[in-house]
Amino acid sequence: MTDTTSVLGYAWPMVVSPGEEVAFHLSSPSVSKAEAALVRVRCGDPDPAGPGIRVLEMDAPFERTVPLVHQVLRPGSCAIVADAPPLTSFRSFTVGAFLWPTMPGDRAQTILSRWREDTQEGWRLGLDAEGHLEFVVAAGGRTWRVATTAALLSREWVLAGASWDAEAGRLAVMVRSADPQAGRDRSERVEAAGPTGLEWPAAVPLVIAAHATDGDGQLFDGFYDGKIDRPRVHASVQPIDGLHRLCESVSFPTADARVVAAWDFSREIASERVTDLSAHHLHGTLRQMPTRGMTGANWDGSTDRWTDCPAQYGAIHFHSDDMADAEWEPTVRFTVPAEWRSGFYALRLRAEAGDEPVESFVAFFVRAEPGKPRSKLAFVASTGTFLAYANSALRLDQVHAEAMLEGVLTLSRDDVYIQEHREVGLSTYDTHADGSGWSISSARRPILNMRPRGNVFNYGNDTHFIDWLDETGQDYDVITDDDIHRRGVQVLAPYTCVVTGSHPEYISREVWEAFDAYQRGGGRHMYLGGNGFYWRIAYHPTVPHTIEMRRGMTGLRTWEGEAGETALAFTGEPSSTWRSNGRPPQRLVGVGFDGQVFTHSSPYRWLDGAKDPALSWLTEGIDLAAPLGDFGLRGNGAAGVEIDRVDFSLGSPPGTVWLATADRLGYGGTPAPEEIRTLHRGVMGDQNAQVRADLVYFPTANGGAVFSTGSIAWVCALSHAGYRNNVSQLTGNVLRRFLDPRPL
């Protein structure tokens, strides 16, 4: 068994041009050094039934032995407000906010604090280990505490606060339930003895959704799970009505000098800043990217997008397991030689640790330098999809996984690691520890399933196409989703043909429109996958290689978004599927997602459309009476896993030539949720011809064209029988013609 996890790391940036520097941020808890090599990836799938792992060691000036130290991952999001005189200029005060806790009773959690854990000084409002609201004030070795008698409910809004009356020497906690009916009421006020005077600790940040562990303001603990809306600090003792007025207020006249801070999370939603509306301007910074643009306690259902009424979206959903930046120190840096071809690359790290050899890869991509293509062909690294699936724990956490995959779960060494080490941060397929959906994914952390020898879905499958290109001697450039998003069609335009791989599923508006413009401009697009152009995502406006998606309530969703929360915080755009955004994939690539099949994959059968003599270039050397792709590494067929179909009512162009179909998928063919309008039996693939994979071709404007296979399994059939098979032949026929500049 190869140990793939004792050394982990990430490359930053994840995508570089020749001549640019990439830094590898590495860590190992057990290995002090590793033998390092830079490799070009040809095939990342270790399956012995296929080509196997194929990497080319690059001749590059690079340190061969890399020293390693253990670098800790610190998940958990919070807002940090740097210390400032107004935060210590008062004695008596009230603090509070609207709360929607998601894990009360799981462990102690801090909501608002100016607290040093190491010296146990300051104040903090939080939930105790049983879920009671508690308020703690401490100084000089003495601690005063007050807590509610009832634990808060999960996923129910409350107004929650506390006060210290220094004159009377009293502490109070107070809760008012937004819905006090039918067993939900947790409203109460509890008082206890407090100090009459104390010294606040010096130089401690005010922290929202956590507390500082020491005076440095760098490390935090006590992370809270759930939403916080409109937190306030007021230098007076307020009853619950007074706190309620403060939290409902959205403007704070300077006449009330007792307003210490009043944060409005509905401002600058697309940023990592939180805004204080008070005269003190105690603005804060977010760490580990909690989810913004979330419905607040005042959301009334009048809109489902924060851009329509930001005031109803003043909540941030904090998660104790948010992870957007590993913050590891760089271990080694490398400047990519100017002469390197673009491609999938990795740093390979080998070491001996105990009984098993360590071999761990850290992936990065070298893009073709913008404006300087070296080939007429570009292959797109689906980095949006790679990020969406980064460290997926779907099979570990989700009840349906084994039934969906039609067999006992087979887990890799990486899965074993992720089960135990959730601090690496999960994928947009997963839920946070509190059950809410994971909507943000960043490359500034180790990604175990985007590298050779990792789980093969997406990255590993796509390398089968790279392997085929190398095998057939076809030159190509590699470009990435990230580049297409940033620079638009100019990234695609220099190429006569652009190929998207097995699963270009996660697409921003910018990427969609770049492909649309490319096709209109005479470009040739080969889409050799399934379930492509499916979800609408956004890239972070300033942080590279960071995506956001919201599942909403349609589409094949492993979690369901909350009502009112389908708009992306990064851009304000709606998310969910492209089909529900008026752009079914059929419109762009002729076919669109309709189902999954994991029992077995199937061959296609040729249709009359393929027999048109004008398309002889496409079918040359292929027996149209024989099944197309009755072999392959994914279910022993070229049509399978996730599949797409033609539908003219959903936008397949009238000029679509329907070449072949695989519509006899058996009982394992399961339709996508959006393919079923009403409930009835007979929807599975053994009875329903709409669960199928279709192969299509259509010409576009200015001599361009599109060829789509509608199946994830396609590229994993290319290497069958020494690459001499009809899937390989057809792919080659189309590619050859698509690279020919004569109009189609």
Partner: protein
């Protein structure tokens, strides 16, 4: 928040239907008849409620060798590796897991001719 529950699969299993056991043994990877599909759905969805975790396979040599394990239901808790249960084919592993599940859900031991390893 829409949640899926492991106890939701409730197709009644008849412990006398050894014909379904025989059908699975013949073709662990399918295709399966309608009733065997329903039996398998129940077992797979439920995820071994009598065990400390769901039975899973750990790939020890890609495409060649797998080890049985138990995946705890609690995040962060390590997968239990069952080093005495190693398989050289997925079909063999599927059969072993099926037998464990059948006996757990029916409370009955399989007759000798159905409790052997897959040939």
């Amino acid at each position: 928040m829409l949640v899926t529950y492991p106890e939701a699969a409730h197709w009644p299993i008849d412990p006398d239907r050894l014909d379904l056991v025989e059908e699975f043994r013949r073709q662990p990877r399918g295709p399966h008849g309608d009733e065997l599909q329903k039996l398998l759905h129940r077992l797979r969805w439920a995820g071994d409620p009598d065990q400390p975790g769901r039975y899973v396979l750990i790939v020890t040599q890609p495409g060649k060798e797998w080890m049985l394990g138990r995946l705890p239901r609690q995040r962060g808790k390590p997968i239990e590796l069952m080093r005495n249960h190693v398989f050289t084919s997925i079909a063999e592993a599927e059969w072993e897991v099926f037998k464990l599940r059948w006996e757990a859900v029916t409370g009955r031991t399989l007759p000798p001719h159905l409790s052997e390893k897959l040939a």
